[in-house]
């Protein structure tokens, strides 16, 4: 731990900024190692607050600082919201970048997979609400997350849900700017991305939230495509193949070809699939998973949807189901999972 600041450029002014910062935190335990970062658990010495330190190796890559590290720092520095992971501090040790993040012991994927935990409809409503609030804050700041999925939705000990992993985030594009369509983990990827669109909006995040909503109700991934081609098929089998009638000019998108045409599902079919969903829940799901991104609702419309005002009221975060206490080994898995991505 006590690797003293042997900074490469320790001439005068440069080093005085960080050595005191570094001693403010302890790195107690290594809990995960990814390609570009090591994650430690520790404490903020002054407050005893539990924290996670993500140590990002710099000097390792031939092109200097890694893009995902740059994005993560860039956006987390700007976003302060109860439903976005808090970047408590940033400091440097001998050319490594250290992000001090709040400690979040669990994520939504872990809970979804743990079939011994029962989700009440009010629990699902609470998680969805917190997700949308966090997403709304990102979008108000013109930031696209581009990798929303259950294991990037971390859970604090007090039940608050926090959006994490901004390694793929970017600012909303300028009018003529081309964006990469190779973003978002496949199962949560919006149809415009599957079609290779170079211009897209916050609607890609809303799609992901819709699919997560479905997964919370089903307790299994809603659209688990085996590969990129299969993803198109799985998506349209469930929600209907988009045509120029329902989504003008969709057929001009790069990857729109040789599609099997499935009819859109009837209300009854959706009702059968989501048997516990109320009409309002189904309406909201349908709004968030509109094929045409311009018809998809935005975060404001979603948050104002009647689903959130009808009974039952969303569960208070502190009363939400929690991970069953087992061995603390799990903490490590959660943290390393958070970095894994299938792009």
């Amino acid at each position: 731990m006590a690797t003293e600041v042997a900074n490469a450029v320790s001439n005068g002014i440069s080093s005085e900024v960080k050595s005191p910062v570094q001693s403010k935190y302890s790195k107690d335990k290594k809990v995960g190692e990814g390609t570009y970062a090591v994650v430690y658990l520790g404490n903020q010495i002054s407050t005893k607050r539990k924290i996670a330190i993500k140590e990002i190796k710099t000097g390792l890559f031939k092109d200097g600082l890694d893009m995902s590290a740059i994005r993560e720092v860039k956006y987390l520095q700007e976003l302060k919201h109860p439903n976005v992971i808090e970047l408590i501090d940033v400091f440097s040790t001998s050319n490594n970048l250290n992000l001090v993040l709040e400690f979040l012991p669990c994520d939504l994927e872990v809970l979804i997979k743990d079939t011994s935990i029962v989700f009440k409809s009010s629990d699902i409503k609470s998680w969805l609400l917190m997700t949308l609030r966090g997403v709304h804050h990102c979008h108000r700041n013109f930031i696209l997350h581009r990798d929303l999925k259950p294991n990037n939705l971390l859970l604090a000990p007090d039940g608050q849900l926090k959006i994490a992993d901004f390694g793929l985030a970017r600012s909303l594009g300028n009018p003529n700017e081309e964006l990469s369509s190779n973003v978002v983990t496949r199962w949560y990827r919006a149809p415009e991305l599957l079609f290779g669109a170079k211009h897209y909006t916050v609607a890609v995040d809303i799609w992901s939230v819709g699919i997560i909503f479905a997964e919370l109700m089903l307790r299994t991934p809603y659209l688990p495509g085996k590969d990129d081609i299969d993803q198109l098929d799985v998506t349209f089998r469930a929600l209907g193949t988009p045509t120029d009638q329902i989504w003008p000019n969709v057929s001009n998108l790069p990857q729109y070809n040789a599609l099997k045409i499935y009819p859109p599902p009837s209300r009854q079919e959706l009702r059968n699939r989501f048997s516990a969903a109320t009409d309002n829940a189904l309406d909201l799901l349908i709004l968030m998973t509109q094929m045409d991104p311009s018809r998809r609702c935005d975060s404001t419309q979603a948050l104002l949807h009647e689903f959130f005002t009808e009974a039952p009221r969303a569960t208070d975060p502190k009363d939400l189901p929690k991970k069953k206490e087992k061995k603390p080994v799990n903490e490590g898995n959660d943290n390393s999972n958070a970095k894994r991505r299938k792009v």
């Binding site: 031939k62 700007e78 050319n95």
Partner: protein, 369 residues
């Protein structure tokens, strides 16, 4: 309300509305990188002072080393040629400021040469300037800091370019020259990379000018989509020629800078927009339908509330116009010439390598008869 009632009363959660202004005030651009003219000067002076101390130290070392190697020579010329006071070069705060401006022009050339998007150019300039609010040119020569700022800005703005293809097209730069500085720059930036520029609000104003001045029917006989389009284009050029090289990004918000550009390009149209936008109450309660350009007095005198409203709007409008004018003035401050910059560059290099200056001097003194 009795004491008891107070106790049982449930606290009603207060509804807090977060405006877009609130969001801006929470950005790192506002919290860490916005200044008053005084605090900006102070920051620059501090960086300059630190640089001078470092340069002084560096000079002393070189001087003493050289002196111990040539004691007689230093004794003989101690009052003139080898007097430390005349031999040392320290850049003043004004020189550093000028040189920074000059290098911002170089950044524009570099990013244009690589055909990088405007966003990269603007961010690179921002990173570069922020670096020199913390550091001095007497510690880091601006050339490689400039290239590294461009390289880092390109990554931060999603315009990735590999280090080889970047360096390949530059003169006398190795990958390590850039990669070794990248982290240093990020540190000086206090790990903040998101920059809000004036170009996006400028586009927003272009749209809003159309909404306000053309709909439902044109407010001015000579204003159309085409003239507003021309205004927008000229304002972009104005920003490139004036604002981005100056310090306005540290002193004003992006929308203020955007309005300054439009105001200076076409004061009549921009002022009309601002009046229509900000003097809404006086527009409704005024006798004349249209708002006169200057010195117009609200004519409503039977309603104090409306009067106050009009006064406060008028006040807001005037503050805004004053701010815009100040922004224009600072944007258009004189830019350094390349002769001036060459001279500063020489002095900058002397401050960075005093050993070479002393060496040259000794050579001159020992070879000349």
């Amino acid at each position: 309300m009795t004491e008891q009632e107070k106790e049982v009363e449930e606290p009603v959660p207060k509804r807090v509305t977060i405006s877009n202004d609130d969001l801006y005030r929470r950005s790192t651009q506002f919290e860490l990188w916005s200044f008053t003219q005084e605090s900006l000067d102070k920051a620059k002076q501090k960086a300059n002072k630190t640089g001078q101390l470092l340069a002084q130290e560096r000079f002393n070392q070189a001087f003493n080393k050289s002196k111990s190697e040539n004691p007689e020579l230093f004794e003989r010329y101690k009052d003139d040629e080898l007097n430390p006071q005349t031999l040392i070069t320290l850049l003043t705060y004004e020189e550093e400021s000028k040189f920074i401006q000059f290098y911002c022009q170089n950044i524009v050339q570099t990013t244009d040469y690589f055909r990088m998007p405007t966003q990269v150019k603007l961010t690179a300039i921002s990173l570069f300037k922020k670096f020199y609010l913390i550091n001095s040119m007497m510690e880091y020569h601006p050339k490689n800091i400039m290239y590294t700022s461009v390289f880092l800005a390109a990554k931060s703005e999603n315009y990735f370019i590999s280090i080889e293809s970047f360096v390949q097209r530059l003169k006398d730069v190795k990958p390590s020259d850039i990669l070794d500085l990248e982290f240093k720059i990020l540190q000086s930036l206090k790990f903040t990379l998101l920059v809000h520029h004036a170009f996006r609000p400028l586009y927003g104003f272009f749209l809003d000018f159309q909404a306000v001045l053309l709909h439902p029917s044109p407010l001015m006989y000579d204003v159309s989509v085409d003239t507003l389009g021309a205004l927008y284009d000229k304002a972009k050029i104005w920003l490139n020629e004036n604002a981005i090289l100056s310090d306005v990004a540290f002193l004003f918000t992006p929308p203020q800078i955007a309005l300054a550009a439009m105001y200076d390009v076409n004061r009549r149209v921009t002022d009309r927009y601002l009046k229509k936008k900000f003097l809404t109450t006086s527009a409704v309660h005024n006798d004349h339908e249209e708002i006169g350009d200057e010195n117009e007095e609200p004519t409503n005198d039977d309603n104090n509330e409306i009067d106050d409203q009009i006064k406060s709007e008028r006040n807001q409008y005037e503050i805004l116009v004053r701010t815009i004018r100040k922004c224009i003035r600072i944007s258009k401050q004189e830019k350094p010439t390349s002769e001036e910059s060459k001279e500063i560059d020489k002095r900058c290099k002397s401050a960075l390598s005093p050993d070479k200056v002393i060496e040259r001097k000794i050579k001159k003194l020992t070879t000349s008869p």
